[in-house]
């Protein structure tokens, strides 16, 4: 449960009345369009200083991840077949929803130790990033596809297709923007995903799940887990029904472990370390094409 | 309903001459039908027409004399508190329940339709299927709903499928024959079109979409393709074959979309229970609720409409 700082200032009227006890928030996971607790029942406490507990965060298990992959796989067919226009509309709706809650998200980042100015900038950038990728949904295909001038009498074209289920390990040092910057391009491109939040800055990830929930995303398209990275890297990288894994931290050893485990089913591994997520230079359609396959089709030209 | 004339000679048509069907085009045409707005008087008229076209159906392993008798009561007394409602066209049951239905419907102008031919799968020797048909007719069925051999059709043995229909038609005697294509198992609209043409040339009085026992059952696209086949057959031969979508039509709004499609594809000659039926059960109450709403201006509750 998260406790918010209550104001110590009060006017003469309220000093005589009982001060209001706020309702603390329970942070759960987001799987298949629902908010369950971890099936393991485990948690870890997010603290400020030595003793003050900000919230109890679900310590997601490999079984939670397994369930999330099932949900993502089930949602994948319909989501990848949905029109690009629809995907763009839904991402834009997420921006609308996040814009409406900008204050809440900034406060949540501040609560977790981010300076206020930086928090507000980060939230604004996250909203604009959603708008940015919403606008790519129906355009990346035009930039990256080709009609190929083969020398036989065939109409030959290459298009991008989503790779499928993408497992994302969000950057540790970013409480919101890093997560949004990796989730948005994956789903703009028709993939479904499971994202593991930063361990030290996990709260906005779950609040963001609420934003997604209110944005017309079908259940299972985006699943959000919290937990200990050291426990979850292995299932994220080794699950045989995951098509790609995205790793956002700079830990070279962890990156190597991921690549070794990913080899079993030839998962695509996308390493995005040392990125300044605040910079507009980091957003690009290549983040979308990273999680796409290319399909070439031949068809005769003749009577 | 005009039964097949005695001069009718069944002949397997050249199925490769049947036009192919573009699925996307069919779905767009259907979407246009669905955007028709049926209101006020035309809505009331259509709802009553739809009601009169229902084959009220129970086809379950757990059917009993009690169940069938009560269903027949519903067929007769659809919603007596609103006078002027038409009765349904028929009650549709298994052969072993035909006599029960006949008894319960005595004195009323409601037909008894019976499924036969190892419904729903059709996986039985032809002799068994013929015997079942004869029994159903002997028990008093006015109409027989048969299933085609989908396996044979998918194997490409059109002659076998054709011959079976011809034989069943003969076994029906004076009873009308509805031929169920089981479109959900045929898979493509091209096959639906070909199977429709085959069945009509074999002597079907009605062609019917489905048994209602598998998904998908009746759909608007499949029905449109069948109506177009009926239209072409009519222009070629002068014979009017009826059509029955069955299964999955439980809402009045959907039933009206079928009627729009029927009206604009085949016209006046088919806007009658003689040539169009809905294979349904809970549709009855939704239609009556809509009629009640049209009459009173107030949205209704299911509690006020009997469920038999």
């Amino acid at each position: 449960m998260a406790r918010r700082k209550t104001s110590s200032k009060s006017n003469s009227l309220s000093s005589r009345s009982v001060s209001r006890v706020p309702v603390a928030k329970t942070y759960k996971l987001y799987i298949d369009g629902k908010f369950p607790r971890s099936e393991s029942g485990r948690y870890y406490s997010l603290r400020r200083g030595d003793t003050r507990v900000l919230a109890n965060v679900c310590r997601g298990s490999r079984k939670d991840f397994r369930d999330a992959v099932v949900a993502a796989r089930n949602a994948c067919g319909a989501w990848s077949r949905s029109s690009a226009y629809l995907r763009g509309q839904i991402l834009y709706r997420a921006a609308e929803m996040l814009e409406g809650r900008a204050g809440q998200f900034a406060a949540e980042l501040v609560l977790q130790g981010v300076a206020r100015r930086r928090a507000e900038t980060e939230v604004a950038a996250a909203i604009d990033r959603l708008v940015y990728y919403a606008g790519w949904a129906d355009k990346y295909q035009q930039v990256f596809s080709t009609v190929n001038p083969v020398s036989t009498s065939h109409f030959n074209f290459s298009v991008l297709e989503p790779t499928g289920v993408v497992a994302i390990i969000a950057p540790e040092t970013s409480g919101l923007l890093g997560l949004v910057s990796n989730v948005a391009p994956a789903v703009a491109g028709g993939n479904t995903c499971i994202v593991l939040a930063s361990k030290s800055l996990p709260l906005c990830a779950i609040s963001f799940a609420e934003v997604l929930h209110a944005s017309d995303f079908p259940a299972g398209v985006i699943n959000v887990l919290t937990g200990l990275k050291e426990e979850l890297i292995e299932p994220f990288a080794s699950h045989m029904d995951v098509n790609a894994v995205v790793y956002g931290d700079a830990d070279a050893q962890a990156a190597r472990k991921i690549q070794e485990l990913a080899a079993d089913n030839i998962k695509r591994v996308i390493l995005r370390s040392g990125v300044d997520w605040n910079s507009a230079a980091t957003q690009s359609p290549y983040s979308i094409s990273d999680t796409q396959e290319t399909k070439t089709t031949w068809h005769p030209i003749g009577s | 309903m005009n039964a097949v004339a005695s001069s009718f000679t069944p002949r397997l048509p050249a199925l490769d001459r049947v036009p192919c069907v573009d699925e996307v085009g069919v779905e767009e045409r259907v979407a246009r039908f669905c955007s028709r707005s049926i209101k006020k008087e035309s809505k009331v008229q259509a709802l009553k027409l739809a009601l009169s076209m229902i084959d009220l159906t129970t086809l379950e392993g757990q059917d009993t004399r009690g169940k069938v008798t009560q269903l027949c009561q519903k067929a007769i007394h659809v919603h007596d508190s609103r006078p002027g409602l038409p009765h349904v066209a028929a009650v549709c049951v298994y052969p072993t329940m035909v006599a029960v239905a006949r008894q319960a419907l005595r004195g009323h102008d409601i037909k008894v339709a019976s499924v036969a031919t190892a419904f729903p799968s059709g996986m039985a020797p032809l002799g068994v299927k013929l015997e079942e048909t004869r029994i159903a007719v002997q028990e008093g069925a006015d109409e027989v709903d048969m299933v085609i051999s989908r396996g044979a059709f998918l194997e490409g043995d059109h002659q076998l499928v054709f011959d079976e229909i011809v034989a069943i038609k003969e076994a029906c005697g004076h009873a009308y024959l509805k031929v169920i294509l089981e479109t959900g198992e045929l898979g493509t609209l091209d096959r639906v079109r070909r199977a429709s043409t085959l069945a009509m040339h074999a002597g079907a009085d009605f062609i019917k979409t489905s048994t209602g026992k598998i998904q998908p059952a009746a759909t608007l696209p499949v029905t449109l393709v069948m109506l177009q086949a009926i239209r072409d057959y009519y222009h070629a031969t002068g014979r009017r074959v009826g059509m029955k979508p069955a299964g999955g039509i439980s809402k009045a709004k959907l039933a009206l979309q079928y009627l729009v499609m029927l009206r604009e594809t085949l016209g006046e000659g088919w806007l009658t229970a003689e040539r169009f039926r809905f294979g349904a059960s809970s549709l009855v109450n939704d239609i009556v609720m809509q009629l009640e709403k049209q009459g009173t201006g107030v949205y209704q509750s299911a509690d006020y409409f009997s469920r038999d």
């Binding site: 930039v143 030209i301 | 085009g25 009519y234 806007l271």
Partner: protein
């Protein structure tokens, strides 16, 4: 083959009751001014004209007539906005304004659809289901390009042209406004738009909407008027680019006026598309495609499939089915939700169409019209076929812009292709066959900018649209549509 005895009876006992679209939530002012510099301002000479509802000839509103000085004010406002505000904004911010326009158009969709039908005569079902959603989608699509132009032109930096002068026709008033404004603004330009004389209302409502989303003043300006208003815009020295959609004849005049000026231009002109049906087509769906191709929007479509080329072995069957299908087309009040074919846009256009009906008959064509009834007042034309036509007939060569289809037969692929290409026009074409290879062979050889295979009249903001030859030059929609509004270095 259908015999007279086997004719189907579509005039049934069960008829559709009137299903009028409600208009009590729709607001049309009695009088509209010009929209210049973010405000509605009176025209200098205080001249107004009336816009009527072609379904009943009743006046809907008085609309300002812009003269040369008004056009000058509008261009000046656009120039000021370009230099002082619009070009100073970050591209992503320009995109956000376009997103706002798209979303608000979705919110006000029903009102816009009703007004479009009232002002222009097209059925409410079309304005509601096609025109308005596509217009919103166009804004949404181009909003996304605003901050992504660096990816659209390999090896080149794109910068805006400046002020765009845009002249649009009366057949898709709101949609054409969207097709013009969205890409222009996305690329950083500002605009002066002149709607058609008979259909100004949705452009004016769009002006209100743009003011309501706080689009910076002067970024879009609307100058209503007739041909001379358009001419003033074309000839204005401070306009950097002209975009015109309309007839080929006016397109020629514009090109002559632009000669030597150095202005950029794109033109989307007339067409006389061939809809080619092969014997191996899915015949029933092809018939539907023919109907969609020529009767949709009363045939007031530049890319209409106004010529049917049908393979001779299936010609009788296709024509019989076509005639049967035409019987269920409802011609009537555009505001009735069941209407398929609405009112002809104006008395002048109806006269043009009727002239062609006379010409076609005089040329020996066999004319067939559906038996539908027509309302007593307003401008109406029944869906019409001319069969037994040839390339040398005027109804085959000339654009009629009405619900009139000219039918010719062909025997071979080469003959169909030759007849299809044997025209100064080159906007669109249709090919109906179940054989994929034949589709690609046809699409490779047809000299037209848009080819529909086993479908017709499909539009999407991401799909480029435009013509070859006298049907114009330049493309609207898609990545290619950006090219019209940028300078590449």
């Amino acid at each position: 083959m259908a015999s007279p005895e086997s004719k189907l009876q579509f005039d049934t006992d069960w008829k559709y009751s009137a299903a009028p679209e409600s208009t009590d939530h729709v607001r049309i002012d009695r009088q509209y001014e010009l929209f210049i510099g973010g405000q509605f301002v009176a025209p200098r000479a205080r001249q107004y004209f009336e816009t009527i509802n072609p379904a009943n000839e009743k006046v809907l509103a008085r609309v300002a007539r812009a003269d040369r000085t008004d056009v000058d004010r509008a261009v000046a406002a656009a120039r000021r906005a370009y230099e002082r505000s619009w070009s100073k904004l970050k591209p992503a911010a320009r995109g956000k304004y376009l997103y706002r326009i798209a979303r608000m158009l979705q919110e006000r969709a029903r009102e816009f659809a009703a007004i479009e039908s009232l002002d222009g005569g097209k059925p409410i079902r079309e304005s509601r289901d096609i025109d308005v959603p596509l217009a919103a989608a166009h804004f949404f699509y181009y909003a996304g390009w605003a901050d992504k132009l660096e990816y659209a032109f390999p090896g080149r930096r794109a910068s805006p042209l400046g002020v765009a002068g845009q002249i649009i026709p009366w057949n898709f008033p709101l949609l054409m406004a969207a097709w013009k404004i969205a890409p222009a603004l996305a690329c950083g330009n500002t605009a002066v738009l002149k709607p058609a004389e008979t259909t100004p209302l949705t452009a004016l409502k769009l002006a209100e909407l743009m003011r309501d989303v706080d689009l910076p003043a002067g970024v879009v300006n609307i100058v209503t008027g007739a041909g001379d208003t358009g001419a003033a815009l074309v000839e204005h020295a401070d306009v950097d680019k002209i975009a015109f959609t309309g007839s080929t004849e006016v397109g020629r005049q514009i090109l002559r006026r632009l000669a030597g000026t150095g202005k950029h231009y794109t033109l989307e002109l007339g067409g006389k598309a061939a809809n080619i049906v092969f014997a191996d087509a899915a015949i029933d769906q092809a018939v539907e495609g023919i109907v969609n191709g020529i009767f949709f929007n009363q045939g007031h479509v530049c890319c209409a499939g106004s010529r049917l080329l049908v393979q001779e072995s299936v010609a009788d069957e296709v024509i019989a089915k076509l005639k049967e299908r035409m019987e269920t087309l409802i011609v009537g009040d555009p505001l009735d939700k069941n209407t398929d074919i609405g009112a002809i846009n104006s008395a002048a256009q109806l006269e043009k169409i009727e002239q062609y009906l006379r010409i076609g008959q005089a040329e020996g064509g066999e004319m067939y019209q559906s038996s539908c009834s027509l309302p007593a007042t307003g401008y109406w034309c029944r869906p019409t076929l001319f069969s037994g036509m040839a390339q040398s007939n005027r109804v085959v060569q000339e654009e009629i812009f009405g619900p009139v289809l000219a039918i010719q037969t062909f025997r071979s692929f080469e003959e169909a292709l030759d007849k299809a290409n044997n025209t100064p026009y080159g906007l669109s074409g249709g090919v109906w066959t179940d054989k994929g290879a034949k589709i690609f062979k046809m699409t490779r050889a047809l000299r037209a900018g848009v080819i529909w295979a086993n479908t017709f009249n499909k539009f999407d903001p991401s799909a480029p649209f435009g013509g070859y030859k006298e049907s114009g030059m330049g493309r609207e929609g898609g990545l290619h549509g950006l090219g019209a509004y940028v300078e590449l270095r």
